[in-house]
């Protein structure tokens, strides 16, 4: 008998179906939030317009999802728990054009394999509801029940048969938060559906349904929702729309940046890179934008069947998507209102994507800022530059709303410049503003290798470690493109005989040393290094905070500021100015917003 047992355990055999299901379920159902996601997906695929989600005990004790979809007929209900049973895909070719949210036919089977699951459903044509219960994979016979048209799924004692899984869960609070995130995803994916989520006895999240715009306060809170700006547009058959934060609002993490592809929340490194790249220089380091980027593309342009949880996708033409996302962000940056607060009106939103596309019919060709700059450098210096893999910047950089002409009033304590403009009183940080002006000039100059060089009467001698000096000849031409003339002067010394003929030209030995180290820092991609180099030079050549500027110099700065694109933030992403509108001022001093002319 013992021998037989040994033989059984050592020899290869087919797994008991219950064991196999529990293993497979682990791939799809890794935590209660996954159950919620799958059940909401099913409800939405069933055409539900109202969904209620309830979770207790971290979703382990119980999860309920009730919907008013079309329900199932009793015959289908029997199959619902069977693995690879789905109403959504029949043929292999269907997989290439998936339009429903669920399709793998795994969800219910997986849930049933690791919980005690009850489905009560009534089809629109059926006279009564039917209920069926499965206990850790074994099906109990269906019984009649009462309910409206629609489906209710109750999942209890989740992972009751896989205690190992329970140990990896995050505790009640963490799991509740994850459940809420799943519900948020669903609200964004299907804004038209009224979705409510109750945690314990409390309503934690509620969306009454409507347009995407209407669900923003539920997802981001009222304050942040007001800082989101809409965008929309198309490139080829790819349509993008959504809402993104202005550069003056940002979060410490990416939790509130929702990327959707055909209504499905995904986490895709390429899309993320496109967003980060477009926001580069607008946000302080370590801060991230928030909002919703919804990408709609033909089903055949995207492979969603990459991961069991459908969390990542593969794009057939990643370059096009990258460019489209990039432009979408620019559209937001370009339409950011002057005060940087309050949502822009969607009706006014220019469709930059369409414009850009009209001007450029071959979106996959790289005629971009970076590749241009790189090719210029290559031509003039014969240095091989490493281009980033992703599609680089394209087209004209957008302007972040124009302040209009500004008139200098004066400078406060040799620090802030006070100016007046159409928008009201403008308080300017002269350093940050000048920095941005010079940064843009350097970027432009870098693109056509046209930064003029002010040669130095007394060269700067920069001591540097020999290990770094060895590599300096590689970047000499690149430095030259930035207007910095450097040569090696002994094994531990660099000599700088020219600095960018920009701004105040306060370039010191330290500036050159940092610049050289930044450009040699292979850890960062080329684009990041160029950004850093330009930002560093701009910072050091700009007017310093505390430099006294006469009225003429102030006006000069304001004139340049007014024509500099996206001048509202400095290259490090900090705001350059503060605008106090007439209305704000009136509120501050308690005057009526409008008063008759004769009133004093």
């Amino acid at each position: 008998m013992k021998d037989m047992m040994d033989a059984m355990t050592e020899r290869i055999h087919l797994l008991d179906p219950v064991v196999a299901d529990a293993i497979a379920a682990g791939e799809v159902i890794e935590r209660p939030a996954a159950v919620v996601k799958e059940l909401i997906d099913n409800a939405l695929d069933a055409g539900a317009t109202r969904i209620t989600v309830r979770a207790r005990g971290g979703g382990i004790a119980a999860i309920e999802v009730h919907d008013n979809g079309h329900g199932m007929v009793p015959e289908d209900l029997a199959l619902a728990f069977a693995r690879h049973a789905t109403s959504k895909v029949s043929h292999l070719e269907d997989l290439t054009a998936i339009r429903t949210r669920g399709f793998r036919g795994e969800a219910l089977a997986s849930i049933a394999a690791v919980s005690e699951c009850t489905i009560t459903t009534r089809h629109a044509d059926a006279a009564a509801a039917t209920s069926v219960r499965a206990r850790f994979g074994s099906l109990l016979p269906p019984v009649s029940a009462g309910r409206d048209v629609g489906t209710s799924v109750t999942v209890e004692n989740l992972f009751g048969n896989t205690p190992a899984r329970l140990r990896f869960l995050k505790g009640e609070r963490g799991e509740h938060a994850a459940v809420l995130r799943s519900v948020m995803d669903a609200i964004i994916a299907a804004p038209g559906c009224s979705i409510q989520c109750e945690i314990g006895e409390k309503v934690a999240l509620s969306s009454r349904g409507g347009e995407l715009h209407d669900v923003l306060p539920a997802i981001f809170g009222r304050g942040d929702a007001a800082k989101l700006l809409p965008f929309s547009g198309s490139v080829d058959s790819i349509h993008l729309h959504g809402y993104l934060s202005t550069p003056l609002a940002h979060h410490g993490n990416r939790m509130h940046l929702f990327v959707l592809v055909n209504g499905r929340r995904i986490q895709n490194a390429m899309v993320q890179h496109a967003i980060d790249d477009a926001y580069r220089g607008y946000l302080p380091s370590g801060r991230y934008p928030f909002g919703i980027v919804a990408i709609d593309c033909p089903p055949e342009a995207v492979d969603v069947n990459v991961h069991p949880t459908k969390r990542d996708v593969r794009f057939v033409e990643p370059g096009t998507i990258h460019r489209a996302v990039h432009r979408a962000v620019w559209q937001v940056l370009g339409s950011a209102p002057v005060e940087g607060l309050g949502p822009g009106s969607p009706s006014n939103g220019r469709s930059l994507l369409d414009d850009a596309h009209a001007a450029d019919n071959s979106p996959l060709q790289s005629g971009s800022f970076l590749s241009e700059s790189a090719s210029h450098i290559e031509r003039s210096t014969s240095v091989q530059l490493v281009l980033p893999e992703a599609e680089p910047r394209t087209g004209p950089r957008p302007s972040m709303g124009s302040l209009g002409p500004l008139r200098a009033i004066g400078q406060v304590r040799n620090t802030w410049i006070v100016a007046e403009g159409d928008a009201g009183i403008v308080l300017l940080d002269p350093h940050a503003a000048h920095e941005k002006i010079l940064y843009e000039e350097l970027r432009r100059g870098l693109a056509d290798a046209a930064v003029p060089v002010q040669s130095l009467l007394v060269p700067l001698l920069v001591p540097m470690d020999p290990a770094t000096v060895v590599h300096v000849p590689d970047i000499v031409p690149l430095l030259m493109s930035l207007g910095v003339a450097v040569d090696v002067f002994g094994e531990d010394m660099l000599r700088c005989s020219g600095v960018p003929a920009l701004g105040r030209g306060h370039v010191t030995e330290d500036t050159i040393a940092t610049l050289v180290r930044d450009l040699l820092d292979r850890v960062n991609p080329q684009e990041e290094r160029l950004h850093r180099a330009a930002a560093l030079l701009a910072c050091h050549t700009a007017v310093r905070l505390g430099d006294a500027l006469d009225l003429r110099e102030q006006q000069q700065l304001l004139d340049l500021f007014a024509i500099t694109p996206e001048a509202l933030t400095c290259p490090h992403g900090r705001p350059t100015c503060r605008i106090i509108s007439d209305g704000e001022m009136r509120r501050a001093v308690g005057r009526p917003l409008r008063e008759p002319l004769e009133a004093r």
Binding site: S380, R444, D448, V453, Q454, S455, V458, P477, M480, Q556
Partner: protein, 380 residues
């Protein structure tokens, strides 16, 4: 302390010494001016510890004494008085200064003069005397080239070199981008052949120049002493400034001996056209280009945002033709500082420095490092 004074005389003295008052000092007394009676006058002193200015104004002293009052307040007050004899008297406790000026009876709170720090002095060293007007003009012509960047302090200063063998005092300033060098003849200079050098903050030197007027015709410079201070005596005004420590580059060596191209033309013409061109250059750092051909200099200024401007100016050109660019702000500053009717410019190559001088004179040289354009860059 009690005395009678004329508001205009006190006002003039205060306007000079007030320049050394610390605007925002943690030591309140540094915002004050020290007033002391001296035979036949009042001595006014102010200091921010790096710079001290002392002036003596006429007054009838009835009772000796000293006090210190807020400098700006007193200057503003005295500046607004009618020109009638006024009296100032310190109360016996030394806490309030009573001023009687016409119908005004004013009380000013004072700070104990004992709190006033001792004024810096230049001890020992040698003294050299130069003409006041020439000195003031020389300062104006050199400080324009000093740097405003406090991170390189040496370049924020003007180097004063006393050369007994040549009987000259030279002022030099550079911000690495340009150099202004002015040679002044010395009226009195000690014997010997040891050169003396001091680097003085450009701003402080301007205070010395400000003190020069019809009555104060000479400037005596005391330098090379045991302390790190230089004293300038301009008539009754004494300006003492801390020197800047550091090595100053041997700037004389930078001036080219020969020139391949020289241009001579009326200063006013070039100044006017350069000014017009600089409007197009927009930011001061934007360059102005000179295309020199036989008989003509074409000035071109441009700005990528605005457009460009081109103007031909007839000139007396010798040597080869040349195209060279300079920072338009630096170029204009040189022309505005020039004190001769005709300007003499000399160049060698587009990437080598150019010089601007008063025609026929060697006492002033303004050297400008060129701006190189991508098209002019040496091929790599």
């Amino acid at each position: 302390m009690k005395c009678t004074f004329l508001p205009s005389q006190l006002s003039q003295g205060l306007s000079l010494v007030q320049r050394a008052v610390s605007q925002r000092s943690t030591l309140p007394v540094l915002g004050n001016v020290l007033i002391e009676t001296v035979p036949g006058g009042l001595r006014l002193s102010a200091t921010n510890l790096d710079l001290a200015i002392v002036d003596t104004v006429p007054a009838e002293v009835a009772k000796e004494g000293k006090t210190s009052v807020p400098a700006k307040l007193l200057a503003d007050y005295v500046g607004s008085l009618l020109e009638v004899p006024c009296t100032m008297e310190l109360d016996p406790q030394g806490r309030v200064l009573n001023l009687t000026c016409g119908l005004h009876k004013t009380k000013l709170h004072v700070i104990d003069p004992a709190e006033f720090p001792p004024l810096p002095v230049a001890e020992g060293g040698t003294s050299v005397i130069v003409d006041g007007k020439t000195f003031a003009a020389g300062v104006a012509q050199t400080v324009i080239a000093a740097s405003s960047d406090e991170t390189e302090r040496v370049y924020t200063g003007v180097r004063i070199k006393v050369d007994p063998s040549a009987q000259t005092v030279t002022l030099a300033a550079t911000d690495r981008h340009r150099l202004a060098l002015k040679t002044l003849p010395a009226k009195e200079i000690p014997d010997g052949d040891e050169q003396l050098i001091a680097i003085v903050p450009a701003k402080h030197l301007q205070e010395v120049a400000r003190a020069v007027n019809e009555a104060r015709k000479e400037v005596a410079i005391a330098l090379g002493g045991t302390t790190s201070f230089v004293t300038f005596t301009v008539g009754d005004v004494v300006v003492t400034t801390r020197t800047i420590e550091g090595r100053y580059p041997k700037v004389e060596q930078a001036i080219p001996d020969a020139a391949g191209t020289t241009v001579v033309l009326p200063t006013a013409d070039l100044r006017r056209e350069a000014k017009t061109a600089s409007i197009l250059a927009r930011e001061e750092s934007n360059p102005v280009r000179m295309s020199i051909t036989s008989g003509t200099v074409v000035l071109t200024a441009w700005s990528s945002d605005v457009g460009d401007d081109e103007v031909p100016i007839p000139a007396d050109v010798t040597g080869e033709g040349l195209e060279i660019s300079f920072n338009s702000g630096y170029f204009l500053a040189a022309l505005e500082a020039l004190d001769s009717d005709t300007v003499h410019m000399s160049f060698n190559k587009a990437e080598e420095p150019g010089t601007i001088r008063p025609h026929g004179r060697e006492d002033y040289v303004y050297l400008l490092m060129p701006v190189l354009h991508p098209s002019l860059r040496p091929s790599l």
